[in-house]
């Protein structure tokens, strides 16, 4: 024991000047990296410490210092949120929207990738790919504008077309009726991100050994059989990893665009009963009404659930399939 300590001591005393020498030689690099660290300290780590204001009587006029100097109020704001008269509705909306989006938008890119993989005309394949990524680069604001152009009761081309061919007599309030909001949100999310997420599955398919397909073909496997027995097992690992990511970010909207942006932009005063979710509510009471600590508490509940979900889904995936994120 003593010997070990002695060795460690001599090592450190020997190492310190060496460290210093290395540091002096590398100082410009440390300057570059240090600026990055300073940036993260200000814009990433200070807000993380700021979370404690959810437990405090925080007022915005006190600035950053107020986060530390205000008085503790314990779980008061959490209790207030849980007993809020809109609590049930908002939580329901958040969960339903998240679940529907995962349910319908998770399989879509996988299917698209498999279909694209079966196309042998390279020019057509590349064109479809290019077109399918495009909506990913368009802002949610434009997507909201597009859905208004297509589905609104007044100018919506869909309503006009349906009325013209006599399927409906009155225009449907697709963009304002609360009954249609979830369908609208899921549909636009799928439209926007399906092509984008197919990239990762295309790459996984490209990694499958072509010899497997040849062997299967010689054994008489048709194209469907090849998809089922080679392509699908071949991308299983990727599917699991993407599924973990999706479940972990489910409250934010999964991988198909943010719930917040959708609910905020597609929501309005009329479909409010299905479009108000936790994030839009936190935003409204927080920044618009100036109740910062209350909104921070709502935010915190959601982050805690999200982090729990990602660890949980990772654990389940590891136990059941062997693939995992960490």
């Amino acid at each position: 024991m003593n010997l070990k300590v002695a060795i460690a001591k001599t090592n450190t005393t020997k190492q310190w000047p060496q460290y210093w020498k290395r540091f002096k030689k590398q100082w410009p690099l440390h300057l570059f990296v240090g600026m990055g660290m300073l940036f993260l300290l200000i814009f990433a780590y200070t807000p993380m410490f700021g979370i404690i204001m959810a437990f405090k009587e925080y007022r915005i006029v006190t600035g950053i210092r107020g986060i530390f100097t205000s008085e503790w109020v314990g779980l008061q704001y959490f209790r207030e949120f849980v007993t809020d008269y809109r609590f049930g509705e908002i939580v329901r909306n958040t969960l339903v929207l998240s679940l529907l989006k995962v349910l319908f938008t998770f399989p879509a890119p996988i299917l698209l990738a498999i279909l694209l993989n079966e196309v042998r005309k390279m020019a057509f394949k590349r064109f479809v790919q290019t077109v399918s990524y495009l909506p990913h680069f368009i802002s949610w604001v434009v997507v909201a504008g597009l859905s208004f152009s297509f589905f609104s009761a007044d100018v919506g081309i869909v309503n006009k077309l349906l009325m013209k061919i006599g399927l409906i007599l009155e225009p449907l309030d697709l963009t304002t009726n609360p009954d249609y909001f979830w369908g609208l949100a899921v549909g636009t999310a799928m439209w926007k991100e399906m092509g984008w997420w197919s990239i990762i599955f295309m790459a996984a398919i490209a990694g499958i050994n072509p010899a497997l397909y040849e062997a299967a073909q010689i054994d008489g496997a048709g194209r469907l059989a090849r998809i089922r027995h080679i392509t699908l097992p071949g991308i299983k690992g990727t599917v699991v990893v993407v599924l973990i990511l999706t479940v972990g970010s489910i409250l934010g909207g999964g991988l198909v665009g943010s719930n917040f942006e959708q609910a905020y932009l597609l929501g309005n005063s009329i479909n409010n009963s299905t479009s108000e979710i936790v994030q839009t509510y936190a935003f409204k009471v927080g920044l618009a009404d100036g109740r910062f600590a209350y909104a921070a508490a709502i935010d915190l509940i959601q982050s805690v659930i999200s982090v729990t979900l990602i660890f949980l889904s990772n654990y389940v995936a590891k136990r059941t399939s062997g693939s995992s994120l960490f």
Partner: protein, 291 residues
Amino acid sequence: MARARQKDLLFDAFIYTILFCIMLVMLYPFFYVLIISFNKGTDSMLGDIYLWSRSFTLENYAMFLSDPKWYKALVVTVMRTVIGTFLGVTFTCLVAYGLSHRDLLFGKVYFSVVIFAMYFSGGLIPYYVVLRSIGLLNTFGVYVVPSMLSTFFLLIAVSFFREIPAELKESAVIDGASEFKIFWSIVLPVSLPLLATMSLFLGVGQWNSWLDSAYFVQEDWLRTLTFRMIEIINKSNIPREALGAGATTSGVTNYSLQVTSMVVSVAPIVCVYPFLQKYFVQGIMLGSVKG
């Protein structure tokens, strides 16, 4: 054999039909707003326009460009895109260049700090308090400063820089070039695919961003194009009021103006991104494999 061939053909027909429909669904919305933006606003309200403009006009665009509200928003958006992308790419690459040295002292500590920041965040409200305290609210800086470092691209850039052959830098070291000189005139010029990918993503992010304009800015002159679009969409998205509301003598309506702004907002992206597609697919793969 013949039956297998026939089955194959059926299978192909099925696949091509579905993919063709997907392609149509992806493209038609863009085409539709384009033809509406070239159609007289009051005429568009009558409907029945599907494949081509009915009463062609440029007055929507003339109105858009002459209205100071839209014109200024466009200028601010272009400015933040150019400056924000330049700062974001340069700063992220500079930090990544430092981190890419394998023998960097405290390298592991630096990486942990970055990765933790990538996965956890303090949420909107504390972030707002921080921006307020350092005086960024209601300034142009709020658009470009907080987005200077992208942790996602930092990790991608590090793995990219590590692939650059050491010989390339050694000659510069012998010539006595400083680290910044090496970064600027040797590392950056050979990293074009990386720079193209980053510029596209950061640029599109800046161009599309509306959250910061809605949250952190109250000054009218700082409003961005996307923010103005939200305003006008909200205005026309109240049922039974779009028709005629805001219709002027010229035949430009709220709705036609909204559609025009959408075309202006989408056009640069549509023009630029097909050329950079090759790079960004590579970039994303690199990120998903090593990040």
